[in-house]
Structures are given as structure tokens and as C-alpha cells.
């Protein structure tokens, strides 16, 4: 049974803010919610290496929301940028030009378009080289910054700007969401975790645990997106909660490849999650796509059956 060791109560979450307001990110951004909580553990002694994406808006010239440093890269090269920063820090420390006490954490911020798609080779390289860094993917399941186009993280049956409902594909997106967790795990980094900001103690605990490991520390953060998923911004935590409670977004970690589920949901029917979002509305109106909904449910069921089997 997985247990939190550092963060047991909500009032242990640090009061100090490390991602300051005044950014142009959407009201109710689930990705920002995750980053803000993560930064409470990471602190200010950080160099963020940001792949182009929604989080570009965190440090849009001439303003930055970080007290630490921030470096901007193309969508495909943030882990390579992180390697450069890490190497520079290591060289400076080795030469005695930077005291070891002033070393900083290197943290990549990448959206799902970058993570699942454009920066996949760059990430694979960094994992292979065992780069000592954090990687936070804020996964809103589409290319959000450019107007919600299909990405390999888009789940089956979600409507996006480039996967609309059509005669050929009445249930919109025909592809399945790429399993980036397993792709990362195949590289055997010391730490991987999925998080959802609606479960703040689980999130904080995972960032606290990751700090003990040298090498790649990979995070996949559910980033409910009112703009792209089409729901009221106030419902961001509710959507995240249902993603976890229906079993669609498993909360888990993998330490040196060994997976542990950190929360076992009772598994509500997936309709509860789908119905809340405009990107799935076509599954319910004007006619109900029973097959598509059943397909989603069956995949979730199959996943958790496998989990139960492995636990036994």
C-alpha cells in the first residue's frame, strides 16, 4: 500500500508562491494549477527550460512569473536545452566558478504536443544519457496554444479543431492516446509519476519523493483545459477529479521501472467524465454513440483488470 510520507495534511502545502500571477494563461488553467503546486516543492532555485507551448505565456517579454530562471526553446528541443544548462552548471561547479551550494534544478516544461510528438526523440536522448533533470509534461490532450489541434495525446472520440465529427469518423478522433508513460518507462529512468492537481497531496508527495533521485525525473500532469475541452473554467478541479475517479487518468509512479498505483479509484462510469466536456458532447447529442462510449469504458476496464492482475 502506497503511503505519503512528507505531505499528510493539506496545511503542509507551503504558503509561499513561486509562480506569480499576472500571466496571460487562461482563467482556470489546469496546467498552471499543476505547475504552481509542483513549484511549491521545487522552489526558486530552478532553471525552467520551456518548450514552446501555452506555458510560453508564463514569461512573455517583458514579464516573467518566475523568481528563478527560464529558458525558451523550440517545441522539439527542450530536453536538449536542459542538457546544455545542466552541462554548463556542472562545468562551472567543476571549475570552482559556481559554489555547489548555488547549484539549481533543471526543469523542462513541455505540453503534450511537445512531449508526445515533437520532442520525443530529444526526450529519449536525455533519458538515455541519464540527464539529471525534471520533466513536467502539462497534458491537455491537444495542441492547445494554436487552437486545439489533434495531438498524439488526444484521447479517442475527443473533438478537436483537426479531428471534427465527420461522415467517416462520427465519433471524432479515431486514434487512441499514446502511452507516453510506458514509452518513458521503457528507458528505465529512476522516477516517473502521473499527477492531477485535484489531488494536491499526491502531487506534492511525488515531487518530494523525486528529489531523492539523480537522473531523469519524469512527470505527466493532467491539465484540464476549459478552453479546449469546452467546460466552465470553474469546473477544472471537477473534471480532473472525474478523470481520476473514472479510472481514465491513473495516478501512479514508477521507481526504476517498478510501477505502483498511488490511488485506486472506485471507477465511476466514464460517462460522468465525458458528459462534463464539450469536446465529447457529440457522443451524447443529438444521438448517443453507445459504441464509442462502450469502447472507452472497455479500455479503462481492461487497464484496471491488468493492474489488479499484476498486484495479485
Amino acid at each position: 500500500m502506497w503511503q505519503r510520507e512528507t505531505f499528510k495534511k493539506i496545511k503542509q502545502i507551503p504558503r509561499e508562491e513561486h509562480v506569480l500571477p499576472g500571466t496571460a494563461l487562461c482563467a482556470g488553467c489546469g496546467g498552471l494549477e499543476a505547475l504552481r503546486l509542483a513549484a511549491k516543492v521545487l522552489g526558486d532555485h530552478v532553471v525552467y527550460v520551456n518548450a514552446a507551448g501555452c506555458f510560453t505565456m508564463l514569461a512573455a517579454y517583458p514579464y516573467t512569473s518566475f523568481k528563478g530562471s527560464w529558458l525558451y526553446t523550440t517545441m522539439g528541443s527542450a530536453p536538449a536545452g536542459a542538457q546544455g544548462v545542466r552541462d554548463a552548471l556542472d562545468v562551472l561547479i567543476a571549475k570552482g566558478k559556481l559554489p555547489k551550494s548555488e547549484d539549481v534544478k533543471v526543469v523542462v516544461l513541455g505540453g503534450d504536443g511537445s512531449t508526445y510528438d515533437m520532442a520525443l526523440s530529444s526526450t529519449s536522448g536525455a533519458l538515455h544519457r541519464k540527464l539529471d533533470f525534471y520533466y513536467i509534461c502539462y497534458d491537455n490532450e491537444a495542441y492547445g496554444n494554436t487552437g486545439m489541434q489533434l495531438s498524439p495525446a488526444t484521447p479517442y472520440a475527443a473533438r478537436t479543431a483537426t479531428s471534427p465529427c465527420s461522415v467517416q469518423h462520427p465519433a471524432a478522433t479515431a486514434q487512441e492516446k499514446k502511452n507516453i508513460f510506458e514509452i518513458w518507462r521503457a528507458h528505465r529512468p529512476p522516477y516517473i509519476a502521473t499527477v492531477a492537481p485535484r489531488y494536491p497531496l499526491d502531487l506534492e508527495e511525488k515531487f518530494a519523493r523525486a528529489a531523492a533521485f539523480t537522473g531523469p525525473k519524469m512527470f505527466l500532469a493532467l491539465s484540464a483545459c476549459p478552453t479546449g475541452w469546452v467546460y466552465d473554467p470553474g469546473e477544472t478541479p471537477e473534471v480532473a477529479k472525474l478523470a481520476v475517479e473514472t479510472g481514465l487518468w491513473p495516478l501512479k509512479e514508477a521507481i526504476n521501472g517498478v510501477v505502483t498505483h498511488t490511488y485506486i479509484p472506485k471507477r465511476k462510469p466514464v460517462e460522468a467524465y465525458l458528459k462534463l466536456q464539450g469536446r465529447f458532447r457529440h457522443l451524447f447529442e443529438p444521438t448517443v454513440h453507445t459504441d464509442a462510449i462502450r469502447h472507452i469504458q472497455e479500455r479503462v476496464d481492461a487497464y484496471w483488470q491488468q493492474v489488479t492482475k499484476e498486484q495479485a
Binding site: P21, G22, A24, P233, G234
Partner: protein
């Protein structure tokens, strides 16, 4: 050619309103074009969209610098220098503002064109549609009436554009009913072309970029984003009801922007200069101690510096 510029905050539907007007003009037999500003448009951030239509082919492209009609979806944008709502407006430009204030009240502290009209479109939408955003159909209908288009093509355009956005048919029907009310609430205006004194726009100073030889656009400050206030993004503000808070911290924990701090007595203190009004705190408060209050124009409302 008639040039209509829409200003709104991301999520209010300025882009769709401009599409509705473009489609309605096209269905009325005009040549038409509509386009939004492409860029970092965000829910709540200032956005603009442009519609041109006429009898002759339109060669002009891009942003409309000298609009005949300006439709403003959010009155707070008038005072936001970054939104550039009045840029290139002439004295005879028709200005429509979604506001509960009268044109004279708006004029009290702003230099506006001669023809200013206001309607509380947000109020109408809240009352009749029960929504706090997406007033595209209503703004599109108002704009179409101002430039003299018939209702039937407007009705078709709203249906078509909302269908494209996968809006449910009953919601489209409701939107049509309310849009017709908005359409009927204004009169077509005479559009005067050319000439006239340009009303001075709120000055926006473009940053001066150094050449690449001197380095990139580097920010040397730390955490200076707080200088940029986002309080004007709100339609509703979270307000604490005294005595109901149990000090559970959930509002503080779930606020994406980190604008809620807990004071010594474990009560939330909202930074209204930066709160974007997402209402997560209101939704998640277990004791309903935080409630949503509609932003009032003038008075206590947030205004840009």
C-alpha cells in the same frame, strides 16, 4: 466596403461574432471576409476580430485600422491600452459597447466617437441563457443590425456558425431567440465613409527591440509578472461570506494563479488585481463561503492603470 472590428476577451465570442457577421453578409449577397487576430489569445485576454463586406471584391487584408463600426464585448477593454479598442476610430465611427452604463456615463472619462450605443448584453445572456460567457450570437446579431443586414441571413449565419462549434441544437435555438431580441434592440445606423478627425487612441508604446547582435529579448527581472494586472478579465468575482469559512485551505490550494492567500486566521484573502475570475474557488468551497458576484461597472470594479 464596410469594415467592422470586434474587440472582446478570449472566450466571450468576439471571433465567432465576426464570423457570424461575415457569413450573414455573404448570405445577403455581399462579398465578405472575416478573420481574428492570430496569436496568444487566451480566455480573458484581449482579442480582436475583423469583418469586411461590400459589393465589390475586397483586396484589403489583415487587421482593420480604420473601422466603420467597432463592437466591444467588454467595457473594461476601453481603458486597456493593450486592447487598442479606439485605434483608428474616427469621430463618425459607430461604437457599440456591451455595458450596463449609458453612453454619457462612458464618455465621462473617455474620448469616444459621436455615435455610441450601449446594451447590457452580458446581463441579457445571464438572464436568458444562464451563461456567463460566449455572447457571440448576440454580438453578431447586434453588429449585423447596425450595418443594416436582414434578420433571415443573420439567423442562418448564427445557426451555421454555432453548429460548426458543435453547440447543441436546443442551445442554438435559445441563442437565436435572444439574438433576435438583441437584433431588434438597436437600429441600423448611417455609415459615413472617409475623412473625419481620428479620435486619439490610448497610447501604446511598442517595446524597442535590440538587434540580434546585442542578444535576445532577455528579461532580467524576477517575478515581475505581478506588474501586469489581470483583474479586468473577470465577469464574476469571488467574495467571502463572513462566518461561513471553515478555514480548509482548498480555495488557496486549487487557485491556478495563486491569487488566494490564507491569512493568520486561515481565512482566504483574494488578490483582486490579479484574480481572473475562473470561479474554481467558488465551485470547490465545501461550505459555500465563497460566492460569485457579478462585476459592477464603475464603482468598485477593477480598472486598468
Amino acid at each position: 466596403m464596410v469594415a467592422v472590428r470586434f474587440h472582446g476577451r478570449g472566450g466571450q465570442g468576439a471571433k465567432t461574432a465576426s464570423r457570424i457577421l461575415g457569413t450573414a453578409a455573404f448570405l445577403s449577397g455581399y462579398v465578405a471576409q472575416d478573420s481574428p487576430i492570430y496569436g496568444a489569445e487566451r480566455r480573458g485576454a484581449p482579442v480582436a476580430a475583423f469583418t469586411r463586406f461590400g459589393r465589390e471584391p475586397i483586396r484589403e487584408r489583415g487587421a482593420i485600422t480604420h473601422p466603420d463600426v467597432v463592437v466591444v464585448a467588454d467595457a473594461s477593454l476601453l481603458e486597456d491600452p493593450g486592447a487598442r479598442v479606439l485605434e483608428g476610430a474616427r469621430a463618425q465611427t459607430v461604437l457599440f459597447v456591451n455595458s450596463s452604463l449609458s453612453p454619457d456615463a462612458l464618455r465621462a472619462h473617455l474620448s469616444l466617437p459621436e455615435q455610441v450605443m450601449t446594451r447590457d448584453v452580458t446581463g441579457i445572456a445571464l438572464q436568458q441563457l444562464g451563461q456567463r460567457e460566449a455572447i457571440s450570437a448576440l454580438l453578431g446579431a447586434v453588429a449585423a443590425r447596425l450595418v443594416g443586414l436582414e434578420w433571415e441571413p443573420v439567423r442562418q449565419a448564427i445557426t451555421r456558425e454555432l453548429e460548426d462549434l458543435a453547440v447543441a441544437p436546443p442551445v442554438i435555438e435559445k441563442n437565436l431567440t435572444v439574438a433576435k431580441q438583441c437584433y431588434d434592440s438597436v437600429e441600423p445606423t448611417g455609415l459615413h465613409k472617409g475623412g473625419g478627425q481620428v479620435i486619439s487612441a490610448a497610447a501604446l508604446h511598442n517595446p524597442i527591440y535590440e538587434p540580434p547582435t546585442k542578444g535576445t529579448a532577455r528579461i532580467s527581472a524576477a517575478g515581475n509578472s505581478v506588474l501586469r494586472e489581470t483583474g479586468g478579465w473577470r465577469t464574476f468575482r469571488p467574495v467571502l461570506v463572513a462566518g461561513k469559512c471553515n478555514g480548509c485551505w482548498l480555495c488557496f490550494v486549487y487557485c491556478p494563479d495563486g491569487v488566494i492567500a490564507m491569512n493568520q486566521d486561515d481565512r482566504p484573502v483574494v488578490d483582486y488585481a490579479h484574480c481572473k475570475g475562473c470561479q474554481i474557488c467558488v465551485h470547490e468551497c465545501p461550505t459555500h463561503a465563497l460566492v460569485a458576484e457579478r462585476e459592477q461597472e464603475g464603482g468598485e470594479a477593477w480598472t486598468a492603470k
